[in-house]
C-alpha cells in the first residue's frame, strides 16, 4: 500500500502518524511496533560487511536492485534502533536510486527523533542514512532508468 505513495508522501504519512502521540512513551512504543514490520535481512547476509559502522547497537543493512528499484532488508539487536531502521526502510524501500539520493530526511526532525541524527557516535542514524544513500549511488549506474 505505502509503495504506491511517493517518498515524500510516505514521509508525510509518518509525520502524521507520530503527530498523534503527545507523550514520549506512546511515541517510542510506536517506534518499537514499527520495528516489527521491518523486512528482515536474511541470516546469511548478517555479515560484518553489512554492519553499519558507528552505532552503539548493531545494525545490519542489505540492499538489492529489483526492477530498477532498491529493495532494503535490515535488522538490529536493539529495538529502538530497529524501529528507526524500519522508519527509514519504509521511506526508502522500493524507490529508484535517484529518489533515494535526492531525498531529504527532515521528517526525522519533525517526528521528534532528531537526537538520533546527532553526530554523536553512539547513534547510528546518520550512518544508516549514509549507507542507504551509498547503496543507491552504487546502483544508480546499473539501473536501466539511469
Amino acid at each position: 500500500m505505502s509503495t504506491t505513495m511517493t517518498l515524500a508522501q510516505t514521509q508525510q504519512e509518518l509525520v502524521s502518524e507520530f503527530a498523534m502521540f503527545s507523550d514520549w512513551q506512546d511515541r517510542y512504543e510506536h517506534l518499537i511496533e514499527l520495528g516489527k514490520d521491518l523486512p528482515l535481512i536474511a541470516p546469511e547476509n548478517k555479515t560484518d560487511d553489512n554492519l553499519v559502522r558507528g552505532c552503539q547497537s548493531r545494525v545490519w543493512l542489505n540492499a538489492q536492485l529489483k526492477n530498477d528499484l532498491v529493495h532494503f532488508t535490515a535488522d538490529s539487536d536493539a529495538m529502538i534502533t530497529k524501529g528507526i531502521v524500519a522508519l527509514l526502510v519504509r521511506v526508502f524501500n522500493d524507490r529508484t536510486p535517484e529518489e533515494i539520493i535526492g531525498a531529504s530526511t527532515d521528517f526525522i526532525d519533525t517526528i521528534g527523533l532528531r537526537a538520533h541524527l546527532s553526530p554523536n557516535r553512539a547513534n547510528g542514524l546518520s550512518a544508516m542514512i549514509d549507507q542507504m544513500k551509498r547503496y543507491a549511488v552504487a546502483f544508480s549506474g546499473n539501473a536501466s532508468t539511469a
Binding site: 514520549w24 512513551q25 517510542y28 512504543e29 518499537i32 552505532c55 552503539q56 547497537s57 548493531r58 539487536d77 536493539a78 529495538m79 529502538i80 534502533t81 537526537a115 553512539a122
Partner: protein, 424 residues
Amino acid sequence: MKTKDAPVTKAYDVERIRAQFPILRELVHGKPLVYFDNAATSQKPRRVIKAESAYYATINANVHRGVHTLSTKATEAQEAAREIVRRHINAQHAHEVIFTGGTTASLNLASFSLGQLVLKPGDEVLISGMEHHSNIVPWQLACERHGAKLKVIPITESGEWDLTQVPFSDETRVLAVSHVSNMLGTINPVKELIAEAKKRGIITAVDGAQAIAHLNVDVQDLGCDLYAFSGHKAYGPTGTGVLYGREELLERMPPWQGGGEMIDTVTFEKTTYAKLPFKFEAGTPNIAGIIGLGEAIRWMEDYDFAFAKASAEQGKSAFAAHEHMLLERATKELLTIDGLRIIGTAKEKVGVISFVIEGVHHYDLGTLLDQQGIAVRTGHHCTQPLMERFGVSGTTRASFTCFNTTEEVDTMVTATQKAVKMLR
C-alpha cells in the same frame, strides 16, 4: 528535592552542594536532569566556571616568558594551581606535577617516554584486564615500537584482579594499572601490587582517572612512580590533566613533545631541555583550564573536608561516604528487577554501578531513561576487552557524585522498570 531516607547523610547537606552546580537547573525532555554520568565527566561548580572567566577577564596572558604584569599574574596563578595539586595528592615537589591535556595525554607521555627509557625487545609491560583503552593502546603502541610484549592480569568473576595469577616475570619493566575501574567501580589494591612490583625493580604507573574525585589520593603512600588523572572528571575544566612523576624518574625520562617552553637552548644541531616540570610541558599550556583545575581541587577540599569534619567518621571523605550510600541503595533496588545482573561486585567500590538486563539492549534502555530526564552511560565504556571478559556487548552504567540524591536513585529504578516493560 528532599532526601527522605538517608541515615548516612545526616550531616551532609546535599541541597547546599546542589546549589553550586548551575547545570542542575536544566530540564531534559521537560523533566529535572538526573545526572548519573559522572564517571564520564563531572559537572562543574560555579566557582570553577567563574575562575576561568575571571582569568580571561582580568589577567589573561601567556605564561613564563613575559616581563609584564599580566604575564606575571598569569604565571603566578598557574603555578599556584600546581602547588594546589601537589598538596592534594601529597607529591613531594611541585615540579613533580606535570600539566597535560588529560589522563590519555598523561598516559601517552608516560608510555612514550618510558618506552624510550627502558623498553627493549623481549621486555614486558604489565597491565590489567579492566583497563580503559587509554591505559591499553598507548602501551600497545610503545610495545610495538620497542619489540616488547603486553601482559595482562586476569579479572575474577566479581571484577577484581586475580592476584593469584599476576604474570610478573623477570622481563617485566613497567606495571600500568588503574586505581579504580570506570566500568566496574572496583577500587584496586594498587598499593599492595606496587609494593610487589618495586621489590622486582619494576616502574609503576597508575591510571587515577576514576579515583581522583572519590578517594584521598596520596602518591607517596601509594609508592607509585607515575600517577595520571584528568581535571574534567574531578569538577575541573575539560582539556586539563596531570601526570605526577617521582622526581628521580622524571629527571631520567626523555621528553615527549618538543617545542616552546620545554627547551633550555636550541640550535639546529642540538637542543637541550629545560628543567622539571617544563621539560614535559611543550607549548602554551591550557592556562585558564589549569587555574580552573586548581579551583576545582580547592572546592573539593573545602566541601569534602568540611563535611568530613562534621561527620562521625572523622577524616573519611564525606563525598565518598555519600556516594557509597547511593551505591548501596541503587544496588539493592536495581536487583529487584527481573533478569538484571550487576557486573562488578567487588568488595571495595566507588559509586559506579554497571548492569545488563536480560532481553533489554543497553542502547534502548539508555534512550528511554533519557526520555525520563536521566543521563546514564551505555556501551562498552572504552573497555572492550573487559566486555569480552564478561561476555556482554555493553552495559548501562550509573555513576554517582556528591550532588546526587537517594530520590534520584529511586527515580532511576522506577524509570528502568518502566523502560523494561516497554522493551519486553
